[in-house]
């Protein structure tokens, strides 16, 4: 892979499969556990996460490279990233609520849920640690969102089947979900040799 596009594209696919933010890094578990009961709602949340990850990674990259680095303030990145994410999500929610009733019902309602989702902040921090350029960061954010979407969809599908299964009482709810998440993570490790990012 020698062209300049190759690296960002690798990052994009790696962030979906081999370096899935949820299954490889176990980030964003809270909403993953609580909203994965039904496929319909997890689709809404998945789209919202994808959108927010892609856009905030872009925004945070710009803030980091054009404000924090020149001022030598990169140690403030945690607090700044969080503020940017929170404000951005809030504004997007207000806009969606105003503009489209359908979009608000399917996606907007989930936005406040993910403002403080650690996977979103995680994506912004990874891109800084790994020193991605603008395009890579955007594709990394977008891919991570899709990966998270994929994981929650799969889990919702499994949990709908689980409704008819007999689960030991102590394992009902979050317990069995975490075990299944672990198995899914193992399955995703099967992709590990195909692509890799560091």
């Amino acid at each position: 892979m020698s062209t300049t596009l190759a690296v960002p594209v690798t990052i994009f696919f790696a962030s979906i499969f081999t370096n899935n933010i949820l299954l490889a890094n176990y980030l964003g578990m809270c909403s993953f556990l609580s909203v994965s009961r039904e496929i319909k709602t997890s689709v809404g949340l998945g789209i919202a996460v994808t959108f927010v990850m892609a856009t905030t990674s872009l925004l945070n990259w710009l803030v980091y490279h054009y404000i924090l680095i020149p001022l030598n303030l990169d140690y403030l990145r945690f607090i700044v990233f969080i503020m940017v994410i929170a404000a951005f999500v809030q504004i997007v929610e207000m806009i969606i609520e105003r503009v489209s009733e359908g979009l608000y019902a399917s996606l907007g309602i989930f936005l406040p849920l993910i403002t403080v989702n650690c996977a979103i902040l995680g994506v912004s921090l990874f891109m800084v640690i790994r020193d991605y350029d603008l395009l890579s960061s955007f594709l990394f954010g977008f891919g991570s969102g899709l990966g998270w979407f994929l994981a929650i969809m799969a889990m919702a599908g499994i949990r709908q089947k689980l409704k008819r299964a007999q689960i030991p009482r102590g394992l009902e709810g979050a317990g069995i979900t975490l075990i299944i998440t672990g198995m899914m993570a193992l399955a995703f490790m099967g992709f590990a040799g195909i692509l890799n990012i560091t």
């Binding site: 404000i67 001022l71 207000m94 806009i95 609520e97 009733e101």
Partner: protein, 366 residues
């Protein structure tokens, strides 16, 4: 060092302020829905600030929709019929709304936002409903399983009720429930006593509300309830009154009788009260006093299974038999019943047999 400190503080402040300004601008432009018109039951119109949940908007107008979770969308109690303005169902409402309710446009008022002109329908009585905070003044055993609870109001300090109505008592989380639940109890005190509410509560084994009241509530404790609710109250007519109650069904009837005493109502009134044995009978003194002070009132208690030691000289038998025996011509009678569904159904049959008009039989089943 100082320079670095100022720089970082400045940078954070600048970024935060910029974001805050952006949000304020968005809120004032895109998030500003202006003043919208809220029409309730087709006859009351309110001009309200748009953009907030229906539940909160109504609360601002002093209309209290019962809700246990306080607007988090986790109790599903604050249902309201929305005729116009609500838009499509939100995923956060759907777990609480059945297919039937969907057809009737029932919405969860804490989730639906008032963004345009709204038309809703709520029970008329909700206009007077408020949430009250009170302190338990006393708890007294009336019988082996019925307690009298007197609650002094703290905030608001006065309640306007009609004799016979009930309140919704908030049972907090405890052993038997992991979320707050509401239970309805009739008010037993006279409406003229605006600063206090008296309840008569019988212990139902395993009952969430009654177990809480009997085992966990103590004098001096704080309670929350909302009300008043219900259309069980004395109608202002000239007809004879027949009251029938069993057990803690005494409460609303007592309230009605006290209210009549206050207002000097002189209609012929008979009160049939059914109990098993003497240990289930209570408030005989109050009833005796009312017989003295009301111009034409008779209290007719009956025991279905008097014990040997009871020395009972009054009526014996089921309340239905005694009612049948005493009622006579029913065409000029208006009846007020409070008790178990079994008691009420049986008594309604007797009353209609004696030609009491069915639409003038009012009851409170529990």
């Amino acid at each position: 060092m100082i320079q670095q400190l100022l720089l970082s503080v400045g940078a954070i402040s600048a970024i935060a302020s910029l974001l805050a300004i952006l949000m304020v601008i968005t809120d004032a432009t895109i998030g500003n829905y202006g003043i919208v018109k809220l029409t309730i039951n087709n006859n009351k119109e309110y001009e309200v600030k748009g953009g907030r949940p229906l539940l909160a908007t109504l609360m601002d107008e002093g209309i209290f929709i019962p809700s246990a979770c306080g607007g988090r969308g986790s109790c599903g109690l604050c249902k309201v019929k929305v005729l116009e303005g609500a838009g499509q169902y939100l995923p956060t409402e759907l777990p609480w709304i059945s297919e039937d309710e969907k057809k009737q446009d029932i919405r969860l008022s804490c989730q639906v936002k008032v963004k345009q002109d709204f038309r809703i329908e709520i029970p008329e009585e909700l206009f007077n409903v408020k949430e009250f905070r009170g302190r338990v003044e006393s708890i007294v055993d009336l019988t082996h399983d019925i307690k009298e609870i007197i609650i002094t109001l703290i905030e608001p300090s006065e309640i306007e009720i009609r004799a016979g109505q009930f309140i919704q008592f908030k049972v907090p989380e405890y052993e038997l429930t992991n979320e707050p639940v509401y239970r309805a109890y009739s008010v037993a005190s006279s409406p003229s006593d605006k600063t206090r509410v008296e309840l008569e509560i019988r212990l139902v084994p395993g009952g969430i509300g009654t177990t809480y009241v009997h085992k966990y509530l103590s004098e001096g404790g704080e309670v929350i309830f909302n009300g008043p609710h219900g259309d069980f109250f004395l109608r202002d007519t000239d007809r004879e009154i027949v009251c029938i109650a069993g057990g803690s069904g005494m409460a609303p009837i007592k309230s009605i009788l006290l209210d009549m005493n206050c207002k000097g109502v002189n209609r012929r009134t008979r009160y049939f009260f059914g109990a098993r044995s003497k240990r289930d009978l209570f408030l005989e003194d109050t009833m005796a006093e009312l017989e003295m002070s009301l111009p034409d009132f008779t209290f007719i208690p009956t025991l279905s299974e008097p014990k040997d030691g009871d020395n009972w000289e009054g009526e014996t038998g089921l309340v239905t038999n005694i009612l049948d025996k005493h009622l006579g011509k029913g065409s000029n009678v208006e009846a007020y019943l409070c008790g178990s569904p079994g008691l009420i159904d049986a008594c309604v049959a007797i009353l209609t047999k004696h030609r009491v008009p069915e639409e003038l039989i009012y009851y409170d089943k529990f």
